[in-house]
Symmetry: C2
Subunit: 332 residues, 2 copies
């Protein structure tokens, strides 16, 4: 019998269609053809992107020239734009504001053919630190309330460029999903005086069945009510609401576990398209007792159709216990 499971933070229900019990090999992913052609993110083509806002690499190299190991540039076709004042306005019963924000592209490696999952942990470390540095910098702009960091990998997951990159959008309002998580965490804390994510981690460590991998500082789980097959969450074991205030040891441990779980996923379903999203506290927050930063990684293996649109429910053909077992047992 299918099982309805509730996400404990958001209250979102998921239908686990056990009967379908899809295994990794049931998901066939077509390798998107390497298009060749011109890549604006490759070294030598720096002039085709807007000027960089951050780069790491050889200290001798000039900005916007080759020699970088990681580069952050404004998106050439931004969803929101950085210049202007924030204007809020009514239109009869409707509300609108102008689209102030920043939209940046993190070019993760100079190597066109290297996917994020194939980067060595020390290169992933650079990406994770670039997220920190850009969030910190954008957090100084009082117009922004939140920086959403995410990655689209593969055409099916919305990537339009092949060269490995992630993105961030600085927003003038707290998005709904962040608000819902904060509210879910707050109402649990009010009742229990404990962080709900800390309780989730405790229960998962006790049960073991949904653990993908872990190290001293981080744990990767298949969440209890996953929207998508093989969904994974990376959580710091020690309570913290702030991604940017991690110490160096924590960044190293995160890079190592991020690399490991992505390699496991890639062994189970080679070349799988996916999205990941960093969930963290709003900009300039005090440390929050009721919120716990984390990454959510969502393979793109099922479709959003009428039922999902209308209900906000998701149908998932792979129980997370099965997914975690496949991921755990993948031979690295």
């Amino acid at each position: 019998m299918p099982e309805l499971r509730k996400d404990p933070v958001l209250g979102r229900w998921i239908i686990i269609a056990k009967e379908r019990g899809k295994r990794p090999t049931d998901f066939i992913v077509e390798k998107s053809e390497s298009k060749g052609g011109f890549c604006p993110l490759c070294p030598g083509n720096e002039k085709t992107t807007p000027p960089e806002v951050l780069s790491y690499g050889d200290s001798a190299h000039m900005p916007n020239t080759p020699g970088w190991t990681l580069r952050v540039v404004p998106n050439k076709y931004p969803a929101l734009i950085i210049e202007g004042d924030l204007d809020k306005e009514g239109e009869g019963i409707y509300d609108k504001m102008n689209g102030i924000g920043a939209h940046e592209v993190i070019i993760e490696s100079p190597n066109h053919d290297k996917a994020f999952a194939d980067l060595p942990p020390l290169k992933i470390l650079l990406v994770l630190k670039a997220f920190r540095d850009r969030i910190t910098d954008l957090g100084r702009d009082p117009r922004f309330k939140y920086v959403m960091v995410f990655k689209n990998f593969g055409k099916a997951a919305g990537a339009s460029l092949e060269h490995s990159h992630s993105q961030l959008v600085a927003l003038p309002i707290l998005p709904r999903m962040v608000l819902s998580e904060l509210e879910g965490g707050r109402s649990y804390y009010k009742y229990k005086e404990r962080c709900i994510y800390c309780d989730i981690i405790r229960q998962e460590i006790k049960l073991k069945t949904r653990i993908v991998c872990q190290n001293d500082l981080f744990i990767v789980i298949a969440p209890y009510a996953p929207r998508s097959p093989f969904e994974m969450w990376i959580l710091p074991k020690r309570h913290s609401s702030s991604y940017i205030n991690q110490d160096d040891a924590s960044f190293h441990a995160l890079a190592s576990i991020f690399s490991e779980c992505m390699r496991r996923l890639n062994i189970c379903i080679p070349n799988v398209p996916y999205n990941f999203v960093l969930h963290c506290a709003p900009l300039r927050s005090e440390p929050l007792e009721h919120y716990h930063w984390h990454f959510e990684i969502m393979p793109k293996l099922t479709q959003i159709a009428g039922f999902e649109w209308g209900s906000g429910f998701y149908i998932n053909p792979t129980p997370p216990e099965d997914a975690a077992k496949f991921l755990r047992e993948a031979k690295l």
Copy 2:
């Protein structure tokens, strides 16, 4: 400059990327190859589906044999199953219940090659009445709280069968999206003592810019904060929370306007994949002053990627005023 618009009922923000200003011809839809092969929904193959729960047609014809003009059967691979008791259970901090529900397929026509948008209004009328009859019947089962009626058309919108069909799922709980609409409507009503959808209709009729088409009883608009390009909502002009209690004149007017707006959409973007969802009051509700039933039609032209997953925001490259104009001016 892009514009952030808020859905007045749900509080969901949409980024209208005016600069991209996509016109109908910017959306290329590949015609999914007519696969031929075996179709379980075609006349003559009635024995390959579970036995029908409803059929319209020649009164002389026997159940589960050809002669029908419309047929409703249980889904062979249901997301939820009808037998059993509703069990709710905790699992530590998590909550679950077993997947009791009904999942049915409405076979809209015996003609394999006739898409919904191509059906004459009198055939669409049958589909709309089948929705009513099945909701009414399933509403007698006290285990169910809501019947979600929807359609997936085209592979990109999640359809796995080509033969024109819609679906319904009877649910043991009120889905999140329905709850949010009911709450949005209730809180507006508390403040204004008017239905928010009635106010939306009044404002749209005054402004005219987002009207697609209308008749005496129904209006079709491009909503102010659409998730997708060319999104349309069909609303009854007279306040009502109950889809199933419409009189015959109302069903006729609905069939006529539904047919018209789908033909307009199909002229703008031939063969466009789409989802539609019926939004109506929970089963066995009293008439609700603060809720207004309607259909939402969402063409599948953009992708849900990391930003949308993380934020609950949608980026829409076609302002609804532009979409409404294209749809209005389509030559029928």
